[in-house]
């Protein structure tokens, strides 16, 4: 306990410890399909319960083979992206034939996130890394404390509760791109319905043998007019409401 107190006190008086996030992004969802990975996230940056920034790009490409999506504190995500872009740049400057691969980016993030957690100063993000290189598809996730694993389909935040059950039921290996996109959009729609900190403005990204592509923001179709939602509930004849 004494050691913990010493560590929390910090090495110097000016040290800041991230204890709670300020501007946050919600779920990121991703699935492997026949030919690569699809990844989707909305463009909202929440300031607590305020929908403050509506054009944050939380799914980005890194190098020629990888997509990285992040939820949680947006400033930490930006920092991670700058670190990864520097990594890609450094490889190119070395000009020794080595490139930033999906696996190397995953390993770098895994190490960095865990190292920060060990200093009690975590990067408050859950990151999903998706990649396609040499005919092999990669999909992995790293959490803010450095927990990392690879899977066929992934989701961060609320998506873990809302999207993963649907993915577990409907995903199968080597899905065609159209089906995989429909599955992701079904999951994203449910997340928009049931996650308070979300908006209906999403970016969809794809990594395939043709390289990374990140779409411009678009909207999903939603249904709010079921009869039983719309018709008046309070009334003596039909029964009360809340």
């Amino acid at each position: 306990r004494i050691l913990n107190k010493m560590m929390l006190a910090g090495a110097s008086a000016g040290t800041q410890r991230t204890q709670s996030p300020i501007v946050t992004g919600t779920s990121v969802l991703a699935v492997k399909y026949d030919g690569g990975v699809l990844m989707i996230a909305d463009t909202l940056g929440s300031y607590g319960s305020l929908a403050r920034f509506t054009d944050l790009r939380r799914v980005r490409s890194v190098g020629d083979f990888t997509l990285v999506g992040g939820s949680g504190e947006y400033s930490d995500f930006t920092y991670l992206m700058e670190m990864l872009d520097a990594e890609v740049r450094d490889h190119r400057m070395e000009d020794d034939g080595f490139v930033a691969t999906p696996e190397s980016i995953y390993s770098l993030l895994r190490f960095s996130m865990h190292a920060r957690r060990n200093k009690f100063d975590p990067l408050w993000n859950s990151v999903i890394i998706g990649g396609r290189r040499n005919g092999e598809t990669f999909l992995g996730t790293v959490s803010m404390i450095g927990t990392a694993f690879e899977e066929e389909f992934l989701a961060t935040g609320f998506g873990g509760h809302l999207a993963i059950p649907i993915m577990r039921k409907h995903w199968r290996p080597d899905m065609p791109e159209g089906e995989a996109r429909a599955l992701l959009e079904t999951c994203a729609r449910v997340c928009y319905y049931r996650d308070c900190r979300s908006i209906n403005r999403l970016t969809l990204a794809k990594i395939s043998d043709e390289g990374p592509v990140v779409s411009e923001p678009y909207q999903l179709e939603t249904k709010w007019d079921y009869r039983l939602f719309v018709q008046p509930k309070a009334g003596a004849e039909t029964g009360g409401s809340w």
Binding site: L162, P165, R194, Y226, L228, T238, G239, W242
Partner: protein, 283 residues
């Protein structure tokens, strides 16, 4: 009328008579852990949906005590009236006793008025009681039924708020169930489609939520107020076949002569035994 329901009606205000007893228990347990004994919770996935012709209610069958499964096949869909059923999540004792109490009150009302029970009546009795207890009764319910005004589905929360909905889910597995309901619900389903939907919603909770598990129960209440209860509608976690694989019948039935007899000695005992008259146990 008023006198008939007096025993069920509270004296007024809040009843704190159990606080003293709670404190005594807390003190007594202080030597061990200093915490109150854990209530048995139902973890739970509950779901309900309205179709063109009635309502389907569904529930899983796992009851948990902390991280241990206390009951692998409990019943969470409770009878309220012949045409009204209620799924319960939260503390098992609270859901059990609250639904039984309201069922009793509804029966008395039905006898007094001669009319069938209405779902909104059950909902109102539940919310008034739960609000009085300020959320200390941990009962989160999905109440559904068909009465003379039609099919109705309500969610009732422990603090006493309610929602009137076409489809609903409650419990720790409610997000998993709701994801299925949100992606697959449509208006004017048939009974079979609705049963399939609710079964899938509960199954999503059973397999994706650790507080829910075992089997799926369904109850169908139709517009003509007929009810079909499908206890253990599906049993996707049956370990019977697995158990059968590891059973070794040869251990249980050892044939005569399997053990070799090396030698045999017979000695008559010289102890005298007298059997006196025995007393019959009263039955």
């Amino acid at each position: 009328e008023a006198r008939m329901l007096a025993s069920a009606r509270p004296r007024g205000g809040f009843d704190f008579s159990l606080c003293g007893r709670n404190e005594v228990i807390r003190q007594a347990a202080a030597g061990a852990t200093g915490t109150m004994p854990r209530a048995m919770k139902t973890g739970t996935t509950l779901a309900g949906a309205i179709f063109n012709g009635g309502i389907v209610l569904g529930a899983d069958t796992r009851a948990t005590e902390g991280t241990v499964v206390a009951d692998k096949n409990c019943e969470k869909i409770h009878y309220i009236a012949p045409n009204i059923y209620c799924c319960g999540a939260g503390t098992a004792a609270d859901t059990e006793h609250t639904t039984a109490l309201i069922a009793s009150q509804l029966k008395l009302l039905q006898l007094n008025t001669g009319a069938g029970s209405r779902v909104v009546t059950a909902m109102t009795l539940l919310k008034r009681m739960l609000f009085r207890y300020q959320g200390h009764i941990s009962a989160a319910l999905i109440l559904g039924g068909v009465d003379t005004t039609g099919a109705h589905l309500y969610t009732v929360w422990p603090h006493g708020s309610t929602s009137k909905l076409p489809y609903a889910s409650m419990g720790s597995g409610s997000l998993a169930a709701m994801s299925v309901l949100e992606s697959s619900y449509k208006e004017d389903m048939t009974e079979e489609e609705c049963m399939e939907l609710v079964k899938e919603a509960i199954s999503a909770g059973v397999f994706n939520d650790l507080g829910s598990g075992s089997n799926v129960d369904l109850t169908v209440i139709r517009d003509d107020q007929s009810v079909t209860r499908h206890r253990n509608y599906t049993t996707p976690n049956d370990v019977g076949p697995l158990r059968a694989l590891v059973q070794a019948p040869s251990v249980k039935t050892i044939p005569r002569g399997a053990t070799q007899i090396l030698s045999q000695t017979v000695t008559l005992s010289d102890v005298q035994v007298e059997v006196e008259g025995m007393e019959r146990l009263s039955t």
